[in-house]
């Protein structure tokens, strides 16, 4: 008699070493919320929840207006798993569409950007206007001789109407040059989502900003780990070895504080107060790191602005960097880095800004590679299950090294995903960290 292979009940499956460790190392003395259950970085369920509860529900920063300056300019982007298309219409408005032909679903653009009055799917030649309207199907193509092959009224018997098949349009809104789109048809107005942060960022986003530097990379880490790197300041003191002896703030340390805002947004520092001493920090003298500050920013100031969930606007006096992230899997994140300058810059000033951007933030620069090495190493340990918890327990009245910024981020993350960030086992109870 053959034995059934399904006779073992799930309850009999032994706990893995990692599961045992998860229980054994759960912080006992720390209060709830002062630590992170690292499975929120590695678990596929957590990623599914954040895609559905965050990236598909909220506004996503997708590009800067300067990336599509004229009518017909388009820019490809992505929200969660969906390829999208930003396209500036004849009237100047930017609209967002799902980047897929309504005929047989082919991705309709084949370049990251371009200028075109009408987009034609390369497969069966369905053609769309920049309003999204389907102008013609392939068989309607002027000049195409399909006599005897296709009949002009071939669609008529099935009730097909071109008006029913425009590109799928998505909510799209801009704020001071930042272009946002959302997969959520009933997303709240952008200004409501930004809330009080809007006033903060409006001060440092003049209309003459333009993107002059762009690079992206697929980083072998979870998106939240790079977000954490952007949102905690102690790595700035402890991790950038070239700064270790000199410290981050050479001048006005009192201005280095967090401002935590509704919806998980935040700011750090003061746009008008000088906090940096690059020479002491080993970046070399006379390299123009603080000259020609951007409008609204003081010489030597380094204010930071965080738009939940993934965007950081980082200004170092005369250059601006905007980060955004697209989670590809729990352990793989596409990070986009934009460097911005002013369209009114002289060639000399532009060169200084670019040089400054590259020195610290370029792919061959000083700081960014250090951050990426760290967050990749972090993920590797977490994914092994050998490091089940992270500590975010510092409290310093919102001074630079206060972990409150991270705790606020994760409280918002928990609220949106339904997963308590300090204990994934409590998902079923819906209990939030205190």
């Amino acid at each position: 008699m053959t034995q059934s292979c399904t006779s073992t009940s799930p309850a009999a499956v032994p706990k893995s070493w990692a599961q045992e460790l998860q229980q054994r190392l759960r912080p006992q003395g720390l209060r709830s919320g002062a630590y992170i259950d690292n499975r929120i970085y590695t678990d596929a369920t957590a990623m599914q929840a954040e895609k559905a509860g965050i990236f598909e529900k909220l506004w996503n920063f997708v590009c800067h207006e300067s990336e599509l300056p004229g009518p017909g300019d388009y820019r490809e982007s992505r929200i969660a798993d969906v390829s999208i298309l930003l396209w500036r219409g004849d009237g100047g408005n930017i609209r967002a569409f799902v980047n897929a032909c309504r005929h047989r679903s082919v991705k309709i653009t084949r370049e990251p950007s371009g200028t075109i009055g009408q987009l034609q799917c390369f497969y069966h030649l369905w053609t769309y206007a920049n309003s999204g309207e389907l102008v013609r199907t392939g068989v309607d193509l002027p000049g195409a001789d399909l006599t005897g092959v296709a009949r002009a009224k071939g669609y008529a018997k099935t009730g097909f109407d071109k008006c029913d098949f425009p590109l799928v349009e998505l909510p799209c809104s801009t704020f001071n040059g930042l272009v946002f789109a959302s997969l959520n048809p009933s997303v709240e107005p952008l200004t409501e989502f930004l809330g009080p942060l809007a006033e903060h960022i409006a001060r440092v986003l003049p209309p003459e900003l333009e993107v002059v530097h762009y690079h992206e990379a697929d980083v072998a880490t979870n998106w939240k780990l790079f977000s954490d790197n952007n949102r905690e300041m102690y790595h700035v003191l402890l991790h950038y070895l070239n700064r270790k002896s000199a410290g981050y703030a050479g001048k006005d340390k009192d201005s280095l504080f967090w401002t935590l805002l509704p919806n998980g947004h935040a700011t750090f520092g003061d746009p008008e107060r000088n906090v940096t001493n690059y020479e002491e920090a080993g970046y070399g003298a006379g390299s123009g790191l603080t000259s020609n500050p951007l409008p609204g920013v003081g010489e030597g100031a380094q204010p930071l602005y965080y738009i939940f969930p993934d965007v950081m606007i980082n200004i170092r006096s005369n250059v601006m960097r905007i980060d955004r992230m697209v989670p590809l899997s729990p352990g793989l994140t596409r990070v986009e880095w934009r460097g911005l300058a002013l369209s009114t810059d002289s060639a000399e000033v532009r060169s200084t800004r670019l040089s400054n951007h590259n020195l610290v933030w370029g792919p061959l620069g000083r700081n960014l590679p250090e951050d990426l090495v760290a967050v990749e190493a972090q993920y590797k340990s977490m994914a092994s299950g050998g490091a089940p918890y992270s500590v975010v327990a510092r409290e310093e009245n919102l001074a630079a090294m206060d972990d409150m910024s991270l705790r606020e981020f994760y409280s918002e993350w928990s609220r949106r995903t339904g997963i308590p960030y300090d204990n994934m086992d409590r998902v079923a109870t819906g209990e939030e960290p205190k």
Binding site: R75, H215, A217, L364, P369
Partner: protein
Amino acid sequence: MSMDTYQVDRLTEPPDSKWLRLSQLVQLSCQTLDDEDFAGWLSLFDAVGRYEVRVYSHELRREMTWLGNDVSEMQSLLDALPNHLRDPGGLMRVASLRSFDEGPDNTARTRSSVLVYKTDVYGMTSLFACGEYRDVWTHSPTGYRLRHRILDLKTRTLGVGSHVPL
């Protein structure tokens, strides 16, 4: 493009000594960087030499400079290397001289394809970047020196990036 563009007629002649010399120098520029002999690498440049990494952005539809420094600025970057947290792997550059033109005032221009491989400390090797060195050389009594190296990168995603020039 005409066949002249590719200097086909040169293929039938034995490589001249200048070609060979410049080819050796291109190899040396790779070897010094692979060995992290930065003093040796910088000594290949003349006093006003410049190193640039450029890339065409299909996203912005413009050429970008990802690094652009003169020799003293490169010296400053390389001096700071020991203080940086670095990817512990190593890079190997494989270059091949493709074309050579003599210019006015004892200058020469060369173009060399280059592949950069990355090997991590566990022995895993992957292609890190590909591109082309576009070099301008000056000739002096001491031989050829690099006046301007442009690395025209085709690869636009460099993972964690690199503290060491490519």
